[in-house]
């Protein structure tokens, strides 16, 4: 990385030079939002631990995943600023998740057919 005079603040204030000051973000997220998300994440953690001690039958796993997805979404949209980012960035996350789901379901379908539904192969 190039060495340079580190007085960026002076440059931003336009001291001594004709210079257009650039802002990068229109939106600076207020700290209160961060703290609220933080608390929500802690609550979510408590919830997921609590839910694991309850016998919800086959719903345990979906509930755990729902809580995890909610927590992850809070991190993604607020800590990672996705809410305030171009829709292109949303698209890149959606694409990754979509293909992961494809990997899971495509591979899983072989096991569902072979093992769980015991469809196996003809003649076996």
């Amino acid at each position: 990385m190039p060495e340079h005079e580190p007085d960026t603040n002076a440059i931003d204030k336009g001291q001594g030079r004709a210079h257009r000051v650039e802002e990068l973000h229109d939106h600076v997220v207020p700290i209160g939002v961060y703290v609220a998300v933080f608390l929500a994440l802690l609550v979510g953690t408590g919830l997921t631990v609590g839910a694991s001690y309850m016998d919800l039958g086959i719903w345990n796993t979906p509930v755990a995943m729902l809580i995890a997805v909610t927590k992850a979404s809070l991190v993604v949209f607020f800590f990672m600023h996705l809410k305030y980012s171009p829709k292109l960035f949303w698209l890149s996350m959606a694409a990754a998740v979509f293909f992961l789901v494809l990997l899971l379901t495509g591979t899983g379908s072989d096991y569902v057919a072979r093992v769980f539904l015991n469809l196996g192969n003809p003649g076996t």
């Binding site: 694409a95 990754a96 293909f99 591979t107 072989d110 057919a113 072979r114 192969n121």
Partner: protein, 562 residues
């Protein structure tokens, strides 16, 4: 073909093409500052962030890897001349075809066009000064080299014999060869791929010149965008799969171990989830090259541009849905096989759309049979055969009969060599004047193209027959009745080798003795043809503004298809 004084044929004497600049004998390099003259010396190359220089770094490395992969191919074809396994032992032969596959797939085909032509051309084609992340681009190359060094070191210290597909549990438990080391090399190389794809995606989204809307982008750029999507979404899956194999083999974290209940078919699902889309990484860039070349040498814009553009995305998308067609006989559920078979037929459609549109571009075009065009025509025929035989294989009934035979080997070589490599060579020739500032000798170019075509067909067409007759792949001894076809194939391989060596010789020759190239020796359209040959380091001295006219070949030449 007319000749100039000195016996060098004048290759570009087509109406409308500018005459080559007069050569003054005895003068030293008299040329304006360009990216090649912007610094001599090892550091200026090894620490460059100029995408054009990085492209040349890649060109050298992948040519070296291609030569090494070719040496393995030579040894394989030599062994297969006789029905007995008499040249090498079986274990050695296993290593030969494994290393041939690994080097050709991971270290040649996957990087080739994107890392060389893509790196060089994408910024220029979109009107930018460089890729979005030039230093990351240089890092990609270093990562590639490190991966190659690891893999070659594994090869020298004993090699790998698992096949390039390194199926478990052989690769995790029973093989006594350098699996982990090779896997590490492939893993590292995967990151080179990922970083290149990342760079291309951000560049194409964010750095287009004013007026360069998505549907004015050259088809070369579209195909590289689609390729980059696959690189980003697919490569990490094989990276983590190689990692799991290495962890199982090295640290006994037995994820696929049948003794613990592990399932080898799970490995195959994870492996092919990437490795099928990987074949589209290998062919899509080549299709992009063909789109550019077919337009330039028919002097017509590609027929159905938007269909060709979107078909690249369709191939990328659908390519992720068909991996199970590599596993029809693996023990995978036959119902999964049914679904994968149907989807495989679907993925042929966008490829077919491209072939039809390229052919329609030729119709009533002003065709000139220069070297790049010869590669295009070869591509059209050979890719079609390769693609159709892919459909044969997608039919589960037939696949059961020919899987793991030379039929499969012939099919993928028709696509990879008859398709991808022909496109690569066509592109190298087409853009050679831009890259080097020199013209290659057109006569030799055409001769080499024809030799490649003849050699290729003689090598691989007999393999379709061999496979259909039942000769299995990865065997170095075979029944006597297969010998004639094997000898034909090996003879073809020697011709093919000549065809590949020729460009190495005359392209290198041209860098010093070739005629100087003008900005647009082909009379083609596109931003790269509006700057000097070779280009200045910053590509454009003035920010280009793109309009519809940038890519048109002259309205009066546009044919109306009735």
């Amino acid at each position: 073909m007319s000749t100039e004084p000195g016996g060098v044929p004048a290759p570009y004497g087509r109406p409308g093409a500018p005459p080559p600049p007069p050569e003054r004998p005895g003068t030293a390099l008299r040329e304006r500052a360009n990216y090649l003259s912007a610094g001599y010396g090892v550091k200026s190359w090894l620490l460059t962030t100029d995408h054009k220089r990085i492209a040349l770094l890649y060109l050298v490395s992948i040519t070296v890897m291609f030569a090494i992969g070719g040496i393995f191919a030579t040894l394989i074809r030599l062994e297969l001349i006789t029905p007995q396994g008499d040249m090498v032992q079986s274990e050695t032969y296993n290593k030969l075809f494994t290393m041939h596959g690994i080097i050709m797939v991971f270290f040649f085909l996957i990087p080739s066009i994107p890392a060389v032509l893509g790196n060089f051309l994408i910024p220029i084609m979109i009107g930018a000064k460089d890729l979005a992340f030039p230093r990351l681009n240089l890092l990609s190359w270093y990562v590639y080299v490190v991966g190659a060094v690891f893999t070659l070191y594994a090869m020298i210290t004993g090699g790998v014999d698992t096949g390039w597909t390194f199926y478990v549990p052989y690769s995790t438990h029973y093989s006594n060869t350098k699996v982990v080391l090779t896997g590490l090399g492939i893993f590292i190389n995967g990151f080179s791929s990922i970083l290149t794809g990342l760079n291309f995606i951000v560049t194409i989204h964010k750095m287009r010149a004013p007026g360069m809307t998505w549907f004015r982008l050259p088809l070369f750029v579209w195909s590289h965008y689609a390729t980059s999507l696959i690189m980003i979404l697919g490569t990490p899956v094989i990276a983590v799969t190689v990692l799991m194999v290495a962890l199982e083999r090295g640290l006994h974290l037995g994820i696929f171990d049948p003794a613990l209940g592990g399932d080898p078919i799970l490995f195959q699902h994870l492996f092919w989830f990437y490795s099928h889309p990987a074949v589209y990484i290998m062919i899509l860039p080549s299709m992009g090259v063909i789109s550019e070349l077919v337009a330039a040498f028919s002097r017509k814009t590609v027929f159905g541009y938007s269909f060709v553009a979107v078909s690249s995305l369709a191939i990328a998308m659908l390519g992720f849905l068909v991996w199970g067609h590599h596993m029809f006989v693996s023990g995978q559920s036959v119902y999964a096989g049914l679904v994968f078979s149907g989807l495989s037929y679907l993925v042929a459609i966008p490829s077919a759309i491209k072939v039809f549109n390229w052919t329609a571009t030729l119709y009533k075009g002003s065709i000139s049979l220069d070297t790049p065009m010869l590669y295009v025509i070869g591509f059209l025929g050979l890719f079609t055969i390769g693609g159709l035989t892919g459909l044969f294989l997608a039919a589960t009934g037939l696949d059961v009969h020919v899987t793991d035979t030379y039929f499969v080997v012939a099919h993928f070589h028709y696509i990879m060599v008859g398709g991808a490599i022909m496109g690569y060579l066509g592109g190298i020739h087409y853009w050679w004047p831009k890259i080097s500032g020199r013209l290659y000798p057109e006569g030799w170019g055409r001769i080499a193209a024809i030799i490649v075509f003849v050699g290729f067909n003689l090598t691989f067409f007999p393999q379709f027959v061999l496979g259909y007759l039942g000769m299995p792949r990865r065997y170095h001894y075979y029944p006597e009745e297969f010998q004639v076809l094997n000898v034909l194939s090996s003879a073809g391989a020697s011709i093919l080798a000549v065809g590949y060596l020729l460009p190495l010789v005359y392209l290198t020759w041209s860098m010093r003795y070739g005629r100087r190239a003008s900005a647009n020796p082909w009379g083609a359209r596109g931003l790269e043809w509006e700057i000097e040959s070779p280009p200045p380091t910053e590509n454009f001295l003035v920010q280009p503004i793109v309009t519809d006219k940038t890519f048109q070949y002259g309205a009066e030449e546009e044919a109306v298809i009735v």
